[in-house]
């Protein structure tokens, strides 16, 4: 059996760990809402363009979906960071990884907000 150190891995952050757990629980809740409201409530399960446009203009939907996006992207990228930490990157590489993941996260959320407002505008 390999001897393994039980010290915290270099780069692990208490706040990110806590955020990962909180966002994880929120993902479970919001994913359930997302799937019910997307697939079980609309007649065609949002598989038609018209239904999607009607859906995004329903009050509260945009807020729910954008919250879900922020929460799931955060959870995903913090998790990816932990997987990368398993590969024991050097501090320099880790700094680059942190920046790239942050940028991807911001880009994904900005894209989601842009897409949502585009669809709402198409309904008008």
């Amino acid at each position: 059996m390999l001897e393994r150190s039980t010290a915290p891995k270099a780069g692990e952050n208490t706040w990110l760990w806590l955020l990962k757990i909180i966002s994880g629980v929120l993902v479970i809740v919001l994913l359930f809402v997302h799937l019910v409201v997307n697939h079980l409530v609309p007649t065609e399960g949002l598989l038609s363009y018209e239904e999607v446009i009607a859906y995004v203009t329903t009050p509260g939907i945009a807020l729910m979906e954008m919250t879900f996006l922020v929460v799931v992207v955060s959870h995903s990228l913090i998790g990816l960071r932990s997987i990368i930490l398993d590969l024991n990157p050097s501090p320099g590489v880790l700094r680059v990884v942190n920046w790239v993941l942050t940028l991807i996260g911001v880009a994904a959320v900005v894209y989601g907000i842009w897409l949502m407002q585009m669809l709402v505008a198409q309904a008008a």
């Binding site: 059996m1 390999l2 001897e3 994913l31 363009y49 995903s76 997987i83 398993d86 024991n88 585009m118």
Partner: protein
């Protein structure tokens, strides 16, 4: 005591991640969690990207919907469901034990996770291919 750095039989830090031979049983839970995490992340970003077809008008979106009703894509969605159910349930187990809840039962919880995942996979599999 041979540490990871002085053990002559230890692989380099990078390749150790793929070493399945000397893992304790509980590490499989974590390995599967990591694997499903990667799969779900790939799915997430694909999902976000394809939604862009909605901005290209009704025809583009309807074409895309017709595409994903094909069996290959439906099977892909089933794989995502299985990965998601496992990842979520095991994640809850990890969160609970991290706060000291149910630690003596973590193996039981893991087996429950596997059983529930199997059952849900079966139900969804049948539903997706017969509905």
């Amino acid at each position: 005591m041979a540490t990871a750095q002085t053990d002559p039989h230890a692989r380099s830090n990078f390749w150790k991640w793929f070493d399945a031979f000397r893992r304790a049983p509980g590490m499989w839970a974590y390995a599967l969690n990591r694997l499903s995490a990667i799969g779900l992340t790939v799915y997430l970003f694909m999902h976000l990207i394809v939604l862009r077809t909605l901005t290209e008008g009704p025809q583009a979106y309807d074409d895309f919907v017709a595409l994903v009703k094909s069996p290959v894509f439906v099977f892909g969605e089933l794989v995502v469901v299985i990965g998601g159910v496992y990842h979520g349930l095991n994640g809850l187990r990890v969160a609970l034990t991290a706060f000291g809840i149910g630690v003596p039962y973590q193996k039981h919880m893991f087996y429950a996770v596997l059983i529930i995942t199997a059952v849900v996979s079966l139900v969804f599999g049948i539903h997706m291919f017969t509905a």
